[in-house]
Amino acid sequence: MKNIFSIASIVFKESVRHRIIIFSLSLSFLIIILSLTLNPLALGELNRLVKDSGLSTISLFSLFIIFFSGTRLIFQEIEKKTIFVLITKPVSRDEIILGKFFGLFSIIFCFTFLTSLFFILTLTLKKITFNITIFYSIINIFLQSVLLSSIAIFYSTFSTPVLSSIFTFFTYVAGFFVNNISYLIEKAPTFVLKIFLKFMMLVIPNFYYLDIKVYAVNNIPVSLNFIIFSITYTFIYTFLLLYVSTLIFRKKEFV
């Protein structure tokens, strides 16, 4: 446990030293403030616009952080040979994977928390109406980021940073088009194909179904059930990805 914390704190420190967090934070604050000035363009839809741009900013920069820092976590360690120092110490390989994951988790959490705070403050000061759904939406954006982090870690246990960035990105995109598979299922000519497509629809990370920005922006209530199932789903998926990552990492040799 202490080792995981120690490794995670190094990951966090790196992103602080490389100014990834401060860069993302300042840019997203800027975007939220800028969205307030768009009143003339928004045609009376300013409330929606501010909420939408705020939530999108949180999710976009979380993505940015994961692509730039998450996909390099493991492989960079191998490439720069810093792993030799780490794995010869009394640290199990599982702890390394978990440490890296929780480091990334803490970066994302820190970013999401601070941006959300700023965002909610802006909404309150500007007297823009919002309800509980906006908090739910932020939770779900965070869940998406967590799932994506574990995907990034998973890919980076066996491929180069550039490749795992690409893989992660395409998994993310696939997760957003997953609902379109349901249309394909109706058109599928054979039963086997239908089953296969349904399987794909369930297996691809359901980013589309976790996203509830549209409800938050328009103050439409979302049931607590939805959040509970989202959390359960994300938790199990993340668990599987980390488990498989540790299995791969345990077998790995470092030349």
């Binding site: 379109n180 409800y215 328009n218 939805f226 199932f229 789903y233």
Partner: protein
């Protein structure tokens, strides 16, 4: 082996929860909720960079599915126009989108005003094509039963390059519906003269004869006093006919035939 079993078990759990997640009410009606706040096509065009055609195809795909799904269930198609509008913003040359969109928006969304708006947009963006005015005429004919306007749009479509012969047929049909049988016959004669296709010629001839017969019978039934004088006058007006006709008057009916 135990590891594989464990992974398989977690996998099943994922599938189970994914299924629940996808079928929660929030996700079931998510697409509609998204459509409520769908950005304009011009905006998407700007942000889709070099992938406009991809986006267009994707949107088209979703739209057709949306149409089909709701037609089969609740027939609530309130976002149909918006979708077609976005697609045609993305790709202004998407002809099928104007014609199909115009038809289904008028017919199934029951908004002829929006359907015509879509078709007008099509005519502005694709002025060379005959399809858009034709469909507009068609909708006036079938849906609004405004035969005068239908006639004009059919006629307009027939002036376009590569317009098929039936543009005029439809114009003629509109005229006939309106009661202006003479113009209808004129149109059919024109079709007769301008086509080399035997079937189209025969069809035009048949239509002319039926039109004449219907009209004469109508006059007869109305009990016009001097039917002979009337017919003579009408025959004079019909001197443009591309083929000769023979008219026989019986007590209660008039028969028209091609002169052999």
């Amino acid at each position: 082996m135990r590891v594989f079993f464990r992974i398989f078990l977690i996998f099943l759990l994922i599938i189970f929860f994914a299924n629940i997640l996808q079928n929660l009410p929030e996700n079931k009606k998510k697409f509609e909720n998204e459509l409520l706040y769908f950005p304009s096509g011009k905006f998407i065009k700007e942000v889709s960079l070099d992938y406009k055609t991809t986006f267009t195809n994707l949107m088209w795909f979703q739209t057709v599915q949306y149409y089909g799904q709701h037609m089969l269930t609740d027939k609530n198609l309130q976002f149909l126009y918006k979708l077609f509008d976005v697609i045609t913003d993305l790709d202004s040359n998407f002809l099928q989108c104007y014609t199909f969109g115009g038809t289904v928006v008028t017919y199934d969304q029951k908004r002829p005003d929006l359907g015509f708006k879509l078709l007008d947009k099509g005519m502005i963006n694709l002025p060379e094509r005959w399809e858009n005015p034709f469909v507009k005429g068609f909708l006036y004919y079938i849906y609004l039963k405004d035969y005068e306007k239908a006639y004009r749009w059919f006629l307009f479509s027939s002036t376009k390059k590569d317009a098929p012969y039936f543009c005029k047929t439809f114009a003629a049909a509109s005229k006939k519906k309106e009661g202006d049988y003479l113009t209808a016959i004129k149109l059919w004669s024109e079709i007769y003269n301008n086509t080399d296709n035997r079937y189209q010629k025969e069809g035009a001839k048949y239509n002319i004869i039926v039109l004449l017969m219907e009209n004469f019978n109508k006059v007869l039934k109305e009990g016009k006093e001097n039917i002979y004088v009337y017919l003579k006058g009408e025959m004079k007006k019909l001197d443009f006919l591309p083929f000769g006709i023979a008219v026989k008057i019986f007590e209660d009916t008039v028969i028209v035939r091609e002169k052999q």
